[in-house]
């Protein structure tokens, strides 16, 4: 079984240094990049499935050339190889371009399943997976809490989380699955995985390689424009309550009462 996992480098949330540059695009020098957290959950789900069924996991990333460094950690977790779509014309690409480019890259690959994370911690659009499925006419299985492929039957069953419980969906493969954190915590790379990641292949693809026109996708053809960006208002002062559970409860009740909240 062959699974492609969409992985995006995003500013490290732990560094809390994400900001836009004067061109209203992400200032990539301001913050170290990491693999998008939700994509790591998708990768973990993919790794577990190929461990159970055999097969390979390919990472697919659209990013500046530095994206290869970020992919190394995902390769260290156990992915087989990476494909990095990178092209200067892609700077400032909007969601519409992103899904068109990733769909074009997927057309070059052989796969049974494509996994995407629920959304990314920088863009937060959460629609790229759906748009790719639409472009490639793949079955679209969203909000997955459990993924059960049956390679011999060419089918995949997915538990899709709903507001009241879950649905069980079945679709022929290839299919696209949007993964949730319910699938399980991502693993730490093993140290052998880290040492072997450097020798794994990361294939680079430009827009020309994919037969795409840099004037029609990417920054020049962006359908949206960021006009302004503001930080959320600062949180108020934090009060730390120490002591036993009973003392803590009493202090919290007294605080809430003093604000007339209870």
């Amino acid at each position: 079984m062959h699974i492609v996992v969409l992985t995006k480098p995003v500013p490290d949330p732990a560094a809390a240094a994400e900001r836009l540059g004067p061109d209203m695009r992400l200032d990539r020098a301001a913050s170290p990049a990491v693999v998008n957290g939700n994509d790591e959950y998708a990768l973990e789900a993919a790794l577990k499935l190929v461990e159970a069924h055999g097969g390979e996991v390919t990472l697919l990333t659209m990013a500046p050339p530095g994206g290869a460094d970020t992919m190394r950690k995902a390769l260290a977790m156990g992915a087989t190889r990476g494909v990095l779509v990178t092209d200067p014309a892609l700077a400032g690409a909007c969601v519409r371009s992103t899904d068109e480019v990733l769909a074009a890259a997927l057309r070059e690959l052989t796969f049974d399943l494509v996994f995407s994370g629920f959304d990314t911690s920088d863009g937060n659009a959460g629609v790229v997976g759906a748009a790719i499925a639409a472009r490639l006419r793949l079955p679209y299985l969203s909000n997955a809490a459990k993924i059960e492929p049956e390679p011999d039957a060419g089918l995949v069953r997915v538990r899709r989380i709903t507001p009241t419980g879950y649905d069980v969906l079945e679709a022929p493969m290839p299919a696209l699955v949007v993964c949730t954190q319910v699938l399980g915590e991502p693993r730490y790379p093993t140290l052998k995985g880290i040492m072997s990641a450097r020798s794994k292949e990361i294939a680079s693809r430009s827009l020309a390689d994919l037969g795409l026109d840099g004037a029609r996708v990417g920054g020049a053809a962006a359908t949206t424009e960021v006009l302004d960006s503001r930080k959320p208002p600062a949180r108020g002062a934090t009060t730390v309550v120490r002591g036993s559970a009973a003392e803590g409860a009493a202090a919290i009740v007294s605080l809430l009462a003093s604000r007339r909240l209870i």
Binding site: A14, A76, Y188, P189, L191, R198
Partner: protein, 391 residues
């Protein structure tokens, strides 16, 4: 969030070393730090942490890839020890002693010996300890009384080893014993790998210690322990040289542990100084506290950079490797003691009780000034290198 930035790759660390260091740090923060107080309180060897380190190949770091290890160089091993020690000194000793105990084998072992013993060590299935010290032979390691007498194709080993870290949990013991009582001081010893349990080998007792309380420090009795001559590492009489070459590569590991302990204490003190209020302001805003934190930070970074330089110099095969090993251990050990003591001071009365980790770190720091050569021995090694007496 970490209050200050952690140096990225580029200056001296490779991308892999940075990823490896950060992975070990995340593992230590998430899985080891929450166990540290309990390990200290119960004084029990943390088998779960040994398993965790083995499962993530951390215990395979010092071993060559062809025998199932990760093939990390000295600096990489030290990066891992440092990050584990930041969370729990006892846990960092599992890796440090796996490194120490196996060094004579890695330095002087034959291809057959490496193929036989390294794979279970690299996988972490088997632990190894370093059996040099005796009750009457601490700093003066050549004064060993344990003997190994040739008996056909075997040796018979007799004696008592003391202060042997992980001595009660190891499956292999590197034992140094006198094989040539009449030879010059530096040709008297030979080094053997003893597979335990074996007849005549007994863990006589465990020490009750001030710190590193989850790490079993054992007294080992060897009574007519029969070891094949094939278990001798190197030639008869190579023991002293193997021990000294071991220290050139193991002392940086203890320096790494010391840097880790100091960083852990500094992180805790900074967190506390940002939260704790007295006289209506955060105590970190008082100049006296701020100055202490600044001194601690500068000292930790200085010790770390000396350690990293020492690792590079030793790995490159410098003729004065022993001096570099002694310098980094001396500076880092003293830094750990000073910084942890100051961390307790920043916490005030809270630093003296086990509600916070700094009292444990202060107790743990002390051992780094004592083992693998006291600080006085480190100075002796450095001075001899300066004055041109190489022994």
């Amino acid at each position: 969030m970490h209050p200050v930035s952690i140096p990225p790759s580029g200056h001296r660390l490779t991308d892999e070393q940075v990823l490896l260091r950060d992975t070990v740090r995340e593992l230590a923060d998430a899985r080891i730090a929450p166990r540290a107080a309990d390990i200290d309180r119960t004084g029990e060897f943390p088998e779960d942490i040994r398993r965790l380190l083995a499962d993530h190949d951390v215990l395979g770091l010092p071993f060559p890839a062809e025998h199932g290890g990760v093939g990390g160089d000295l600096l990489t091993v030290c990066l891992a020890i440092e990050q584990i020690a930041r969370a729990c000194t006892t846990s960092s000793l599992i890796l440090a002693v796996q490194d120490l105990g196996s060094l004579p084998l890695r330095l002087g072992g034959s291809p057959e010996q490496l193929a036989r013993w390294v794979p279970p060590l690299a996988s972490g299935e088997t632990l190894i300890c370093f059996g040099l010290t005796e009750a009457e032979a601490g700093s003066d390691a050549a004064a060993l009384r344990t003997t190994a007498v040739r008996d056909g194709d075997d040796y018979l080993i007799n004696g008592t080893k003391r202060f042997i870290t992980n001595g009660s949990v190891a499956g292999l013991v590197t034992v140094f014993a006198v094989t040539n009582p009449d030879a010059p001081r530096h040709r008297r010893l030979s080094c053997f790998v003893v597979e335990v349990p074996t007849e005549g080998f007994r863990v006589a007792r465990l020490e009750h210690k001030m710190g590193i309380r989850g790490s079993p420090t054992a007294e080992l009795e060897l009574t007519n322990v029969r070891v094949p001559a094939a278990n001798r590492i190197g030639e008869d009489g190579d023991g002293w040289t193997l021990a000294m070459r071991t220290f050139e590569r193991s002392r940086p590991g203890i320096a790494a542990q010391a840097v880790g302990i100091a960083q852990g204490a500094l992180d805790a003190a900074v967190d506390y100084a940002r939260q704790r209020k007295q006289f209506g302001q955060r105590i970190g805003e008082f100049q006296m506290i701020g100055a202490m934190l600044a001194d601690m930070d500068a000292q930790v970074e200085a010790a770390r950079q000396l350690l990293y330089t020492a690792c590079e110099v030793i790995e490159a095969g410098a003729p004065d490797a022993a001096r570099w090993a002694a310098m980094c251990k001396l500076v880092a050990g003293d830094t750990a003691m000073r910084v942890t003591t100051d961390a307790v001071q920043v916490f005030g009365g809270y630093g003296y009780v086990d509600e916070f980790p700094v009292e444990r770190m202060m107790r743990d720091a002390k051992i780094t000034q004592l083992y693998e050569g006291t600080q006085q021995i480190q100075r002796l090694v450095i001075a001899r290198a300066l004055l041109g007496r190489g022994d």
